[in-house]
Assembly symmetry: C2
Homo-oligomer: 377 residues x 2
């Protein structure tokens, strides 16, 4: 329980047990990642959606800005199948938004998906079912991360294969997994993962659940952390709703070895979040977030907006992740270009009402000073 | 932030800022309430469902066992209306359970409700609508509490009238309200309530939401406490998911002046919970609780069982609280008599996997010692 030096800071080679959450989709700029690492935490590149070459460039840009440790986050992905009929129906539901944004109507079935080869490839098995292969990009991402000598890698949505884990261990890479309930934590530990990030129901963005249904794994940090640390030997990091030194101190007393904070970094000048996204976070109240599948087909927490409200009733008819994510990509991109936050995915944790628009170094100093008042050195 | 003496302990006249949650339905025996108060916390009699005379007797029994402060909790209630058709339909859905328990089929409309005059009275306005008056019993309850010289009163489901608040203040009664989001906290403070219990989504039993829909007020303590204490001047008490000294310390660092713990007391020998209910809690895992309206018509958290599973799909068609609560009462009582936990309401918070079967004094000593390790005196 000693603060700030504990087995997590020692393992990760950082000054403070604070990880910047690997938010994908352009938020984790090299500036943000480097600023967090330079301030003594662990910055994280959210590389889940990035092409291998873009990951290589981002790593170089981060290394120009810091010589301290940082992590790269990848989405563990497996081939999925989807009914063609669901994709056709989803495109029909999305047509009014494309029309409003002057976007071309996609081919009835595949073009909107196949358009984005960086994320996955699609093949039509027969007239009713499509096979989506997401593995290729993920394995290329892993290869780049290893080639670049990255030595802290975090994973979401699953567990790397035994062979990959063995390779990471051989290269001295510290691996960080994500759990939303105890069984996932136990499985991660038994697989040889070094650190478990425990994602409370408070967390913004996608639920990391990979065993069971995400709707059932909605435990808050107050429950998840004590129960998880009683079961695991490896360090547990608390993620979700932590917005300042009060949350950091609380998480440590619940038994966490550290915290992972995402939403609290979104409104910093270093973050790559869209200016309208930042403004929406600064204008928000404590009741603003909801869990939704409408943007990606996977349950995620974000600010309620028009797109969520209008599609929430049909969300169980939509294709699963990552197909729905690909289907809505042109809409989300065009909405961002036209400054229309009502059609963007504004991922946010339940604590977003405490967002501040200040530089990373200032914020981290404030949080860590506040936590230090409570925590025994 | 000083521990354990702060403005809450001073206001309530207790040694430790720990309130035993006022669980209604027979759990808060005089033995439980007195044991908590004798150990330096604030015991609470959950009197919401009790007839005025039963409250008087329970108060006397508590006073035989302790001379320390304790609270009485009441449900603020207002007349409600319900469609007769919904009641008829609900009784049809409940018929298989009554049959399995050899319970008589109630009159198609009212008998199952009117049977329980202690809770409310029912009058048929016309053939399609019934009026349920719940005020009478509540006002009698308040009268008894005042006659008995009770000086700490907590309220759930709403706010006492201005006249009642004025009377309480005149008599030196300290009032405790329940909030599930910031607006409710602000309204309670402005009404003149002395202490706000902030009920996180982790809490077992009924949601205390009285402004907006309970489903929307599902904030965890990690979010609710910091945001609420930033807005209020009166002491805020954290309730929900706190099961030991780790949770107590965490709640204090989030800014709470104290904690309210319910589920953690359910499995003590002093608690009046049914033996099968206690055993179910001791056997549970961290994924066991769900939010449901099937027992009472009001959203509440409890252990998933057969009754919840079978009726969850139709729960939005059921009558509201307190009518559905009255309709299921004979079933819940008979299920308890026959040791059938699958048809009982097994209210529990998300932390129930940490329940221990130990006497109150031992548990409180353990929790407070653990919290003291973390909290600065």
């Amino acid at each position: 329980m000693s603060w700030p030096n504990n087995r997590l800071t020692q393992l990760l080679g950082i000054d403070y047990p604070l990880i910047q959450a690997p938010m994908a989709g352009g938020v984790t700029t090299p500036e943000l990642v480097a600023a967090v690492s330079n301030a003594g935490g662990l910055g994280s590149l959210g590389a889940g959606y990035m092409k291998p070459e873009a990951i290589r460039q981002a790593i170089a840009a981060i290394r120009q800005r810091t010589d301290r440790p940082f992590a790269v986050n990848l989405f563990v992905s497996e081939p999925v199948k989807e009914e063609a009929q669901r994709v056709i129906a989803a495109n029909r539901l999305l047509a009014p938004y494309r029309e409003a944004l002057n976007l071309p109507e996609p081919e009835p079935l595949l073009s909107a998906v196949a358009d984005d080869s960086e994320e996955f490839t699609v093949s039509l098995e027969d007239s009713s079912e499509m096979l989506v292969s997401t593995g290729a990009n993920y394995h290329e991402q892993v290869a780049v991360v290893l080639e670049e000598g990255i030595d802290r890698v975090s994973f979401t949505f699953g567990i790397p294969s035994d062979a990959e884990i063995a390779t990471f261990k051989q290269r001295g890479v510290i691996t960080i997994g994500t759990a939303t309930h105890v069984l996932e934590g136990i499985v991660l530990e038994e697989t040889g993962i070094d650190v478990v990030v425990a994602q409370g129901m408070e967390a913004g963005g996608h639920r990391g659940t990979f065993i069971g249904r995400p709707e059932q794994g909605l435990l808050s940090l107050m429950t998840l952390i004590p129960i998880l640390v009683d079961q695991l030997r490896i360090p547990v990091v608390a993620a979700g709703g932590i917005m300042d030194g009060r949350g950091i101190a609380a998480a440590h007393h619940l038994g966490a070895s550290g915290v992972q904070m995402g939403t609290a970094f979104l409104t910093t000048p270093e973050s790559g979040a869209h200016s309208m996204y930042k403004q929406a976070l600064l204008d928000t109240t404590e009741m603003s977030t909801v869990l939704t599948k409408v943007f990606s087909g996977k349950l995620a927490r974000g600010l309620q907006n028009r797109f969520i409200t209008e599609l929430s009733e049909v969300q169980d008819q939509l294709p699963g992740y990552p197909i729905q994510n690909a289907l809505t990509r042109d809409i989300r991109r065009a909405a961002a270009e036209h400054d229309m936050p009502e059609l963007m995915s504004l991922w946010a944790g339940t604590g977003c009402a405490l967002c501040q628009s200040r530089p990373v170094a200032e914020l981290m100093r404030q949080w860590l000073d506040q936590a230090a008042q409570y925590l025994k050195p």
